[in-house]
């Protein structure tokens, strides 16, 4: 049983780290110790953390599987590709509408109004399929989807048993594509046991989208400043808000990977002149491939936090080196900021000095620190669920990353410059000049460098450590996922789910920032957490029975 006794004012990170791992068997303790890092200022370098390693069996993890990363996160938000899950029923059932990706398909009677996101398609494999193979059933299911609704594309997702029984889903997909003629069918070998977390699934999804869809549509897209927004999933309408801002600035978003997206957006992505990368972890592969094949550079952005949003817009404008755009962006920022500053000032009177912990995702634990900062709150501990070392320490560590047995089997696709369509948008000299003016392409410094000294950075935080951490450091708010939510709440600590927010949003962009301030203000300031003890528990002394006066 855990109870929070009193709030710690001063804590010693070394002591806390020791307490987090005290109960583990020695082997587990050794392993976890490497994933728990006390942030200290080192000269010219960031301290090293272990990440993207196996989850320990029996240790209650926050992580999900490769399939969840592939079908759930990356491919789920695209409305007009039928996601057909090849496997027993569960995997597809749980990924059915449980992330809050919003999409706008238009009214029923418009052309291109397809929206399959409210549906759940599965081959519901049975015992005989496991024994005799499921390829026939898969082919038949693809045919039945086609006959029923004539989609332009069908993505097939493999779940754990499929890989083991050796179903060749890629061949089935290719055959069906040929047979159907006007329907692009492709498959994802995203069995849940691959890799060590959702992260492998992101990579697999990136590969296949790139291989089978990107570049398929050469019909020119209009727009003066064309970008793709990579790694934005329109949870709670985040992408809608970012698109609103782009539109206001005169920036054309060709394709979002993959919030509120459609097949055609992906197919046209090669027509953009810049890739703006939000979630580095989940989508940097596509960014790199778009650069190699089509010559489109990428820049790291962050639209979580009003100031981060402004900074990202300025970066995009600077990249295009167009004074009109630069001016327009400044106008938009000037227009949006007063409301935000007013809200931050108001909310800040109640939130300043409060503390937060964030354990989520592969970028959110970093990005959301911006919003807390804007409210005067301090992030005292943070970590990712499935990120790699570069997301913590910055991309400069990539050349030194060891590829272990679990990652080795995740395909790295070789991309060559496209014969006719490769066109570098910037010359090396221009790129250098941009870097000189603060627009670093292909650069991400990671989370650690932006966190204070003596904060605790913990990779793949688990249930036991979360409980201890909250007990010892008592943050004013804890952010993680749905599985963690209620054990933290039971301790009387407000909890905000930051994967799909549970409710509310958008939290991105300018208006989103205001929503977030209010949401956090509600959580850290509410009276509802003051009822935990009944009056008789607070004042247990007895008076004589049945005495009124």
């Amino acid at each position: 049983m855990t109870i929070i006794r009193e709030k710690m004012v001063q804590w010693d990170p070394v002591d806390i780290k020791a307490k987090l791992i005290a109960k583990y068997p020695p082997k587990v303790a050794r392993k976890r110790a490497k994933q728990i890092l006390i942030n200290e200022a080192l000269e010219n370098e960031t301290p090293e953390i272990t990440a993207n390693v196996r989850t320990i069996p029996g240790i209650i993890t926050m992580r999900g599987c490769t399939y969840a990363g592939c079908k759930g996160v990356i491919m789920g938000p695209t409305r007009d590709i039928v996601n057909l899950v090849h496997g027993p029923i569960g995997c597809s059932f749980y990924a059915w509408l449980t992330r809050r990706n919003q999409t706008y398909a238009g009214p029923d009677d418009t052309p291109d109004n397809e929206n399959f996101m409210n549906y759940c398609f599965s081959t519901d494999m049975q015992e005989q399929d496991i024994i005799f193979g499921g390829e026939k059933k898969l082919a038949a299911a693809i045919q039945e989807v086609y006959d029923l609704i004539h989609p332009k594309a069908i993505g097939v997702f493999a779940t754990c048993p499929v890989g083991l029984i050796g179903d060749d889903i890629h061949t089935v997909a290719a055959q069906m594509k040929e047979k159907l003629g006007d329907c692009n069918v492709f498959a994802f070998s995203c069995e849940g046991y691959k890799g060590v977390s959702q992260s492998a699934g992101h990579h697999i999804a990136n590969n296949q989208v790139f291989r089978h869809i990107v570049g398929e549509n050469d019909v020119p897209k209009e727009g003066k400043f064309k970008i793709n927004l990579l790694g934005e999933y329109n949870i709670g309408g985040d992408g809608f808000e970012i698109d609103r801002i782009f539109k206001k600035c005169g920036i054309t978003n060709i394709s979002t990977f993959s919030g509120n997206s459609s097949y055609d957006q992906f197919a046209s992505a090669h027509q953009a002149d810049l890739n703006a990368v939000m979630c580095h972890r989940s989508i940097n592969y596509v960014a790199d491939m778009l650069e190699t094949k089509f010559g489109i550079p990428w820049v790291k952005v962050n639209f979580i936090g009003a100031h981060a949003t402004a900074k990202s817009l300025r970066k995009i404008a600077a990249y295009f080196e167009d004074q009109e755009l630069i001016n327009r962006v400044e106008e938009v920022i000037a227009e949006e900021m007063p409301d935000i500053e007013a809200a931050a000032k108001d909310v800040g009177t109640r939130t300043a000095g409060k503390t937060a912990m964030l354990f989520v995702g592969g970028s959110r634990a970093h990005h959301y620190q911006e919003l807390f900062k804007e409210m005067g709150m301090k992030t005292i501990s943070a970590g990712y669920e499935f990120a790699h070392r570069d997301d913590y320490e910055g991309r400069q560590v990539i050349p030194n990353l060891k590829v272990d047995a679990d990652s080795r089997n995740i395909e790295e696709i070789e991309v060559e410059p496209d014969e006719s369509r490769y066109s570098p948008r910037k010359t090396p000299a221009e790129i250098e000049a941009l870097a000189g003016s603060g627009v670093d392409l292909k650069k991400y410094d990671g989370m650690i460098s932006e966190m204070d000294e003596n904060t605790l950075i913990i990779d793949d935080l688990n249930q036991h450590e979360a409980e201890k951490l909250v007990e010892l450091m008592k943050p004013d708010i804890f952010c993680a996922g749905i599985k963690e939510k209620y054990s933290i709440m039971k301790l009387g600590v407000p909890m905000k789910q930051l994967h799909s927010y549970d409710s509310g949003g958008p939290y991105a962009g300018f208006r989103g920032a205001i929503n977030f301030y209010h949401e956090i203000d509600r959580l850290v300031g509410s009276r509802v957490f003051s009822y935990l003890k009944a009056p008789w528990q607070k004042n247990p002394e007895l008076t004589a029975a049945y005495v009124w006066e």
């Binding site: 749980y94 754990c160 048993p161 599985k483 003890k533």
Partner: protein, 457 residues
């Protein structure tokens, strides 16, 4: 339209399931295991399944759901998961200190062919299971059955604890089936009122509808204790509620410890509750408590008072076999017309039972076993109904077709109350009727013209 691609015309599908009315076995096993006191469910497979099951149960209950996983990697998937499970057992007993680990398999470990009993033996031999602690196992691949069979299999495996000392304990085992924590409470209350001492297993009351007190207990006070599970072998008899969820365990206990059993329907609605109370009465050899008779009278009162609003209203029902059987009987008993009935769980017995219940009705009843919500929606498009009874996924059909929806079953992800207010027993019947009436009368008010909008209904 939310489901804008669902055509009216029904085509036979052989390979494709769309919008399923079932999910996979392990989540049922996990829910059942949470009904053992101080038990940590463990999913033997990759970590994704466990994450999904925990998330879904969490969203349904808004309560912490603790469960561990063997976290298979590719290596484990090829070479077998024994090393992972042994390591997991060791870690779990060290870090979380449960009394029991209830392991269930997944599609993955079953496809590999991991042998749970053998791995458990190894764990015992290697001293990984501390003295007085237990590891339970259930085989639950999802390429067979559904979440319902997973639940049943885990409950059946609990019978492993039972011991026959030869001395009767004077209790009646009640296996409540997959009902909500509050339903389990209500069933216990009814038994207590009748003067029957019971052992209920599994029992999630107090576990998944816990209070907010500023304390977090990974293992809350509720749940059937190991001592109670052992004692089930000495009970006078077993009442198994629901053929699908509870009968297997009851029969196993009969086989193992010669505890006689009766399989009844889940006591949802008037008649099923009557049969349950009657069974309790006969077992205890007492007359039914006045309180229960009074509650029954209240339910009948509501039925007769409001009959005009129920009469001839067409209903579509989707859910799990035990629940749907009881619900259909209840609907018929109040003169509502369950015209479409779908369950995702396979099994011929279901259709047979529903046919028996609906045989002498003067309207057609469509039944699909191993059906899905896509088909149910198509039926509704062809001939609409007045009420849809379904889990939360029904809301997409309800909104598109503008039909009132009674959220009922599993999972309910968008409303509250199911964990606190029972739908079993006479009181539960009242609650169901209240909900149905509210839906129908809200609709009536909404649709009424000003000239016939009425105060008194």
């Amino acid at each position: 339209m939310l489901l804008r691609h669902t055509p009216k015309e029904v085509k036979e599908r052989n390979a494709l399931t769309v919008n399923p009315a079932k999910t996979c076995q392990p989540i049922g096993a996990m829910y059942a295991a949470l009904g053992i006191h101080a038990c940590l469910p463990h999913s033997h497979g990759s970590q994704g399944c466990c994450a999904y099951h925990r998330s879904t149960l969490t969203r349904h209950y808004k309560e912490p759901i603790s469960a561990a996983t063997s976290s298979f990697t590719e290596g484990a998937s090829v070479f077998g998961g024994q090393a992972n499970l042994l390591q997991a057992i060791n870690n779990i007993f060290n870090v979380y200190e449960p009394e029991v680990i209830a392991v269930h398999t997944t599609c993955l470990s079953e496809t590999i062919g991991d042998d749970l009993p053998q791995i458990r033996k190894k764990a015992i031999n290697e001293g990984k299971i501390p003295e007085g602690k237990y590891v339970l196992g259930a085989s639950t691949p999802s390429y067979a059955g559904s979440h319902v069979t997973g639940f049943s299999t885990m409950v059946k495996s609990m019978v492993e604890f039972s011991e026959k000392t030869g001395e009767k304990n004077g209790r009646v085992n009640i296996i409540p089936g997959w009902v909500e924590p509050c339903d389990m409470e209500e069933i216990k209350r009814m038994a207590e009122l009748t003067g029957v001492k019971t052992i209920m297993f599994p029992d999630t009351s107090g576990v998944l509808n816990g209070p907010m007190t500023g304390e977090y207990k990974m293992f809350p006070d509720g749940g059937t204790t190991v001592a109670e599970l052992k004692s089930t072998g000495d009970s006078i008899g077993t009442l198994a509620l629901g053929e699908w969820c509870s009968a297997a365990a009851a029969r196993e206990l009969d086989k193992k410890c010669k505890v006689p059993c009766r399989v009844l329907d889940i006591p949802i609605g008037l008649a099923a509750t009557d049969r349950f109370v009657d069974a309790l009465r006969t077992i205890a050899g007492v007359s039914v408590a006045d309180e229960l008779a009074f509650e029954r009278g209240q339910l009948v009162d509501m039925i007769t008072d409001m009959h005009q609003y129920f009469f001839k209203k067409k209903v579509a029902v989707a859910g799990d076999p035990d629940q749907v059987i009881a619900m259909v009987e209840f609907l018929i008993s109040i003169d509502m017309c369950p015209v479409y009935i779908v369950t995702g769980t396979p099994g011929k017995k279901f259709e047979k039972r529903i046919r028996e219940l609906t045989d002498d009705l003067d309207y057609e009843v469509k039944i699909k076993v191993k059906g899905d919500l896509f088909l149910l929606h198509q039926w509704i498009k062809n001939e609409p109904v007045d009420l849809l009874i379904c889990n939360s996924y029904g809301k997409y059909i309800a909104k598109d077709e503008d039909i009132p929806l009674l959220r009922w079953g599993f999972p309910i992800l968008d409303r509250q109350g199911h964990q606190y207010f029972p739908t079993v027993g006479y009181k539960g019947g009242l609650r169901l009727l209240e909900k149905i009436l509210n839906l129908l009368l809200d609709r009536k008010d909404r649709d009424a013209e000003e000239s016939n909008f009425e105060l008194v209904l």
